[in-house]
């Protein structure tokens, strides 16, 4: 019995190895493959699943139009399961086994950081659709979400001008995006003459659900006689209990407005917003943008998901822009070869869903309008302010000591993601 078993074991091991090869072995090259790398399970599924659906819809639609370069597109969907090392593994699988031409994916910064070396090593393209902290510019990544200057700073400007806010609470989840954004905002506010005493910074863990103490602190901080506002970089899941506590403790937008950078239509769909009317969010797109392009997109999306109540949000728009840019760049380059597409992408301009055009800049960030919306009772946003022009994403913040001298330009001849204008060298601040 034992020898039989050991033979079986040996066979199983070898068989398994062979199967790995077979599963991921080369497939027929008739279509252009596009990787979709969004978590469908685990903690991030809540945000990322929608983006997978958007990608499938966009690819579907493009195929109805005849595909790209005469070939059909094929989506390769994988589930990195909110597990960061798995993101890297799946990215590697998509690029080297499935031979995708580009990948649309990631939500959290850590997932992007996890896959970045893979994309650089295997030289492929990632479109990253979420607002993030900046401080990065990779040749292989195209950032279609907002950099801090495309979201945070215009929002603060709005609050200062329109609401006369003098005192600021910067509340965030303890991870890199809020940390960096708050560092930038702190520097910005101080530059605008706000005293250190008038800034309160608070960090909470992921998924924080008991906000009593913090909301009480905010209330207290706000009762110093100066107009106070909260700038919230609280992430995902923690927002619902935060807003519920806010509403219940009776903090109204007319008293202490909260402006959030991570709360969009999808997050509000899980909330009763009647008590939150007037709290704000800053994005580059709202579902309530009243232009024909957006109306058409919403119609298509609701038809595709077969749900007339399905909402749209900013990262979805970012994928729409990113995908259209990629299609245009591939057509321009006449090939899906990543090197050529990367070069072709810079300068590509496509319509965004807020009635204008977004252009891919040499730093791999795009130009966007900044919209400020107030929450309405129906869970939508009332757009109360819109920057007159488009704002270019600033990857290296001017308000951070380490990065104020850095710029990124991926065009020849510079071709550098962290060029130091002070020393004239590529490669950071190089003390």
């Amino acid at each position: 019995m034992s020898t039989r078993f050991t033979k079986w074991l040996a066979g199983a091991v070898l068989g398994a190895t062979a199967m790995v090869g077979a599963t991921f072995g080369a497939r027929a090259e008739e279509t252009i493959k596009i990787g979709v790398l969004h978590s469908l399970s685990g903690t991030m599924a809540i945000s990322e699943t929608t983006l997978k659906d958007v990608m499938l819809m966009l690819i579907d639609e493009q195929n109805k139009k005849g595909g790209v370069l005469g070939k059909k597109l094929e989506a390769v969907v994988v589930d990195p399961a909110s597990n960061w090392p798995l993101f890297a593994e799946k990215a590697r699988q998509l690029i080297s086994q499935d031979k995708v031409s580009a990948v649309f994916g990631c939500w959290t910064s850590v997932s992007r950081k996890s896959v970045l070396p893979v994309f650089e090593e295997l030289n492929n393209i990632l479109f990253y659709p979420v607002q993030y902290e900046g401080e990065e510019s990779s040749r292989n990544i195209f950032y279609t979400g907002a950099a801090p200057n495309q979201q945070a700073i215009p929002a603060v400007d709005y609050l200062m001008a329109e609401e006369g806010v003098k005192r600021w609470v910067l509340a965030g989840t303890d991870y890199v995006y809020p940390r960096t954004t708050n560092k930038i905002l702190e520097a910005y506010l101080k530059a605008k003459g706000v005293a250190a005493d008038d800034i309160m910074i608070n960090y909470t863990p992921f998924g924080h659900s008991d906000w009593q103490t913090i909301v009480a602190d905010i209330k207290k901080f706000g009762s110093a006689g100066k107009k106070t506002a909260v700038v919230s970089t609280i992430n995902g899941d923690a927002n619902v209990p935060f807003y519920k506590e806010l509403a219940n403790q009776g903090i109204k937008a007319t008293d202490i407005p909260v402006v959030a950078f991570s709360v969009g239509e999808e997050e509000l769909a899980g909330l009763d917003t009647s008590n939150l009317v007037g709290h704000l969010a800053a994005w580059n797109y709202f579902m309530s943008v009243d232009v024909p392009e957006n109306a058409e997109f919403i119609k298509k999306w609701q038809a595709y998901t077969n749900n007339p109540k399905r909402v749209t949000n900013d990262p979805m728009e970012a994928h729409v822009i990113g995908f259209n840019m990629w299609v245009k760049a591939v057509e321009k380059a006449g090939t899906t070869d990543p090197d050529k597409v990367i070069d072709a992408l810079i300068g590509v301009s496509v319509p965004n869903l807020s009635g204008g055009y977004s252009t891919m800049m040499p730093n791999h960030h795009i130009t966007k309008p900044v919209l400020i919306g107030e929450i309405k009772a129906d869970g939508q946003f009332d757009i109360v302010s819109q920057t007159p022009g488009l704002i270019m994403g600033d990857e290296w913040s001017d308000y951070l000591e380490g990065s104020k001298d850095l710029i990124s330009d991926w065009r020849a001849p510079l071709k550098c993601g962290n060029f130091n204008v002070a020393t004239g060298k590529c490669g950071g601040s190089g003390k």
Binding site: M1, S2, F5, T6, W8, L9, A10, V13, L14, A16, T17, V20, G21, T23, F24, L40, S41, V77, V78, D79, P80, A81, W84, P85, L86, A88, E89, K90, R92, Q93, S96, Q97, T108, S109, V110, K113, S114, L116, P117, V118, E121, D174, Y175, V176, R179, K183, P205, F206, L400, G402, S403, L406, G417, N418, N420, G427, G428, S429, G430, K431
Partner: protein
């Protein structure tokens, strides 16, 4: 019976080591020596993937040593794995030097943008490979020793122990999430460039890391085999089966538990250290209690109390995860969760314990069929 048992498992050990050797050599050669378009070529992607499985196998082995042989169900072994990984990650971060995006010669990028001015004291020394390797073993070892000393001395056992190990890893998870801790917060440590001066992204380096993982697995396996076969190992099993009997026999049980637990933690740390350069990131998520529980499930799937089983379980489950997250992205959790339920209910001895049994049954059925009358066979309880 006893001869058969011993012979059986010895043959299994031999087969296991032989398979490991063959796969390692084969993968190495087929990756490096065949052209990329050859049908025989093993892609680098697969090398990294297999290397990851092997690290998980070491982790599973370390869990099996304490769970399968001493009866300590640790739901916090992921913490030791992660600590080993962080020690390695810190070395790799220091190796980046001025190649970080900010070009700071000393500080890792995340410290630069958080405006840290100098390296915290606990990062000192990690630029030295030897020091870092010592830490890979020492940090998990010391944590396990202190934790185990306190827990075993006061005779915390069974479920209680499982739950406080979970609390331990959960506390570490929260601590490492804090950016103020100086370990990169949620983003963890990433963007590694090279190890001992060799570029991590070359095929040669990947094969080397894979081979190192295979070697580490083989060594850990042999070490565990030797320990469990020694009289020390017999005492461990005695503790698992009848703790107070062992105690009343004059064995100071806590000493044995502590030794096994600490050794196991060191093994987990080594696994973590090998894992990090191959996956390219270490982040507090590795401390998540779910990860530790999952690792325990690998052992259960493979066969608790059989060292080969632990390794096989880790590889099989993770292989399944790789396949299903690609093939059935929306349904794979059903498959994984279902597997766990299935194994605990119907295969309490795991793959390695059950498969020989099935083969045995099949053989006896065949023999029966060959005989004059095929009597209806009474169902055999799976647990026997």
């Amino acid at each position: 019976m006893i001869m058969k048992r011993l012979f059986g498992s010895d043959a299994m050990a031999l087969w296991f080591l032989a398979c490991l050797l063959v796969v390692t050599v084969l993968v190495g050669v087929l990756n490096l020596a065949t052209p990329a378009d050859s049908a025989l070529h093993v892609p680098t992607y697969l090398v990294a993937l297999l290397g990851k499985y092997l690290c998980y196998a070491i982790l599973a082995l370390s869990i099996d040593l304490v769970w399968g042989y001493v009866g300590i169900l640790s739901l916090g072994h992921g913490a030791f794995f992660a600590l080993g990984g962080y020690a390695m990650g810190m070395y790799l971060m220091r190796q980046i030097g001025p190649r970080g995006v900010y070009g700071d010669p000393v500080l890792p990028d995340f410290m630069v943008f958080l405006n840290w001015k100098e390296l915290p004291w606990y990062w000192l020394g990690f630029d030295n490979f030897l020091f870092a390797m010592v830490m890979v073993a020492l940090v998990p070892g010391i944590l396990a020793f202190v934790f185990g000393y306190l827990a075993f001395r006061s005779r915390v056992t069974g479920v209680y122990l499982s739950i406080i190990t979970q609390a331990m890893t959960y506390a570490l998870l929260l601590a490492f999430f804090r950016n103020d801790m100086g370990f990169g917060g949620n983003n963890g440590l990433t963007d590694f460039k090279d190890l001992l001066g060799f570029n991590l992204q070359t095929d040669g380096m990947r094969v080397a890391l894979f081979a190192a993982s295979a070697l580490a697995l083989a060594l850990c396996y042999l070490l565990c085999l030797w320990i469990t076969r020694s009289r020390f190992g017999k005492v461990l099993i005695a503790v698992r089966d009848a703790e107070s009997r062992t105690r009343f026999m004059g064995y100071r049980v806590e000493g044995y538990k502590l030794a096994a637990f600490t050794l196991s933690a060191v093994m987990a740390g080594v696994a973590g250290a090998l894992y990090v350069p191959q996956v390219g990131i270490i982040n507090p998520g590795e401390f998540a209690p779910q990860n530790s529980i999952e690792a325990v499930v690998w052992v259960a799937v493979g066969g608790r109390g059989t060292l080969v089983g632990a390794a096989v379980g880790a590889i099989v489950v993770n292989f399944g995860k790789t396949v299903f997250t690609g093939v059935l992205p929306e349904l794979w959790l059903f498959a994984l969760g279902g597997l766990f339920v299935f194994v605990t209910l119907l295969m309490p001895k795991g793959i390695v314990g059950t498969v020989p049994q099935l083969l045995d049954m099949m053989r006896s059925r065949k023999a029966q069929n060959a005989g004059e009358t095929a009597k209806p066979e009474a169902p055999r309880p799976a647990a026997e």
